[in-house]
Structure formats: structure tokens, C-alpha cells
């Protein structure tokens, strides 16, 4: 239960797959299946709007600041590539272009450093 990287236990994996299958469907079904045409509470919608833009950066931030691949040392190529990805994504609103720019930056810098 420490933060070490290791292989995934088969029992855990299947628990996660089945759990996610059931609950992912429940999330998608709850309103369209059960709510009918009743309006949603506004406060709930207001918080749901920000789940993706909150939880995804929260997941990524530690991986950028302390990459497991470098043993948790801040890494210039990875940090720069993350910033380039965000910058291109904000400027162009193009997901694919942002990925290509970020990956290109990472490979060029890793090659220069090596």
C-alpha cells in the first residue's frame, strides 16, 4: 500500500474492471434512465461541470512534478513537454496537435539531454 510501482494483482484488476463496468454504466444511466424529464438540481450540475477539469489535472500534476521514471526527480524534458502540451492545447484547441507537440518536445529534449 505504499507508493511503489509494481505489477497489478489479478484479483484487484478484475474487481476494478467489474466495479468500473457497473458504476460507469450507473453514472450514464442514472439520469436518462431514472430521472425522466424532471430538471436537475442546479447546484449539482454546477459542481459536475468542473469534475473533469479538476480531477484530471490533479492526477497529472504529481506525475509531472515527480515523474516515477526518473525516481521522482523533477525532469526538464518532461516538465517542458507538459507545458508545451498545455500551451498548444490552449492556443489551438486541437487535442491531436497538442499531443504531437508535447511528444515531439519530449523526444527532442530527451535526445538532446542524452
Amino acid at each position: 500500500m505504499t507508493g511503489t510501482t509494481g505489477s497489478i494483482d489479478t484479483g484487484t484488476l478484475w474487481t476494478v474492471i467489474v466495479g468500473m463496468a457497473v458504476f460507469s454504466f450507473a453514472l450514464r444511466f442514472v439520469f436518462i434512465g431514472l430521472m425522466g424529464d424532471r430538471p436537475m438540481p442546479e447546484w449539482l450540475m454546477r459542481h459536475l461541470r468542473y469534475t473533469a477539469v479538476a480531477i484530471i489535472p490533479a492526477l497529472v500534476a504529481p506525475l509531472v512534478a515527480w515523474p516515477p521514471a526518473t525516481g521522482g526527480e523533477l525532469d526538464l524534458p518532461r516538465l517542458t513537454s507538459a507545458l508545451v502540451t498545455i500551451g498548444i492545447g490552449l492556443l489551438t484547441r486541437n487535442v491531436l496537435l497538442a499531443i504531437i507537440s508535447g511528444a515531439g518536445t519530449l523526444y527532442i529534449l530527451l535526445w538532446l539531454v542524452a
Binding site: V16, R49, Y50, P57, A82, T85, I88, I99
Partner: protein, 238 residues
Amino acid sequence: MAFSTTKSAFWRGARDSAPFVLVAGPFGMLFGVLAAEAGLKVVEAMTFSLTVFAGSAQFTALQLMQENAPTIIVLISALAVNLRVAMYSASLTPYLGAAPLWKRAVAAYFMVDQSYALSIVKFETEPDLSIDERLAYFFGTNAIIAPLWYSATLAGALMGSKVPQGLALDFVLPITFLALIAPMLRTPAHVVAALVAIVTALLAAGLPYNLGLIVAGLAGMIAGARVEVELRRRGAWT
């Protein structure tokens, strides 16, 4: 008559989804490759994509399982990443709520970013569509994307360990997620939500059981909602 218009609505949905081929293909393959790298068998990766059918949630679960996070944290975090589909479901309910329950159940399974985004635009701009045409359009948006997502996962899972070392695959996930998030930062409230979540995640990284992620996510959501309320009060919300 009704048959031919629903049929054409289905194909229009499929045609409108074409640009998303460029997202679902590479994204599905990436999941297959990373799953194989993490030690998942092909059948495990495929079951994952077929039953869960939610890319970003699958990547999140994969990452956290490799960090040996407790199962309950893996589930909560992955579902939190996917909470937006509940919002999609709520938002499409006025348009699809009149369909029979079993059709709504099938539609629920196919509720993903691209089917929602295409459908809500279609339904708002063409309010005269019948319920059958709306459903046909909605399913059409997944006619290409869903099979592509499954087959790309399969291709990636089969390639898996054959991908050369030194490709820095550890950083593909952060790059992909950042690229997905950047275009979603449309309003000051979205930006504040992301910034608060990032700062909290870094400060709370020491919390046990990867709880920092949950705390940071909640902090970001509350911050975003507060900013939205404040902007609305000042009449600055668009």
C-alpha cells in the same frame, strides 16, 4: 417514410463523427499498449474496453493500480474522472427521455464525449427531429467510433511488449490528459478549478491511499462552482 428519415439520421451521425476517428484510434491503441506494459493480458484489456468503454477513466485506473493504490481509491478516482458522463446523461434526458427504457439503457452505454458533443449540438439546432431520428443520430455517432475503440485496444494490446524501450511511454498519459484538458478550459471558472486542483494535489501528495487526488478533485470542483456563482452574481458569466 419514418424508416428512411431515421436511417439517414443514423448515417448523418456516423458521418459527423468522422473527425473523432483521429482521437479514438490512437487513444484506444495507446490504452492497449499501456495495459500490456502494465502486465494485463489481451483478454483483460479487451474486457476493460468493452465493458467500461470510458478512455480517461480506464487510463486513470491503470495508472493508480500500478501505483498500488487501494482498490476503493482506484474505483472512486476512475469514476470521478468519468463523472462528466452523468452530466451528459442529464443534459440529453429532455431529448431522449421519451424513448423506451431498453433503448435508453443502450444509449446510456454509448454515452461518451463525442456522442454527447455531436448530439447536443444537433438536437439544439434541429428541435423538430422526432425521438426516433434523435436516437438514430445518437447511435450513428458511435457506429464507427465504438468498433474502432475496441479494435484499436486489441491492436495495442497485441503490440504491447513489442513497442521499443526508450519511448518514454511513462509520459504518454500525462501528455494525453493535458492535451484533452486544455481545450476544456473555456471560462475563468474552469481555469480556477484546474489551478486549485493542481496546487492541492501537489500539497496533498503525501496523504495516504492516494487520497490527495480525491481531496484535490473536490477542492477544484468547489472552487470552480464558487467562481461560477460569483461571476453570475456580477453578470460576467457568458
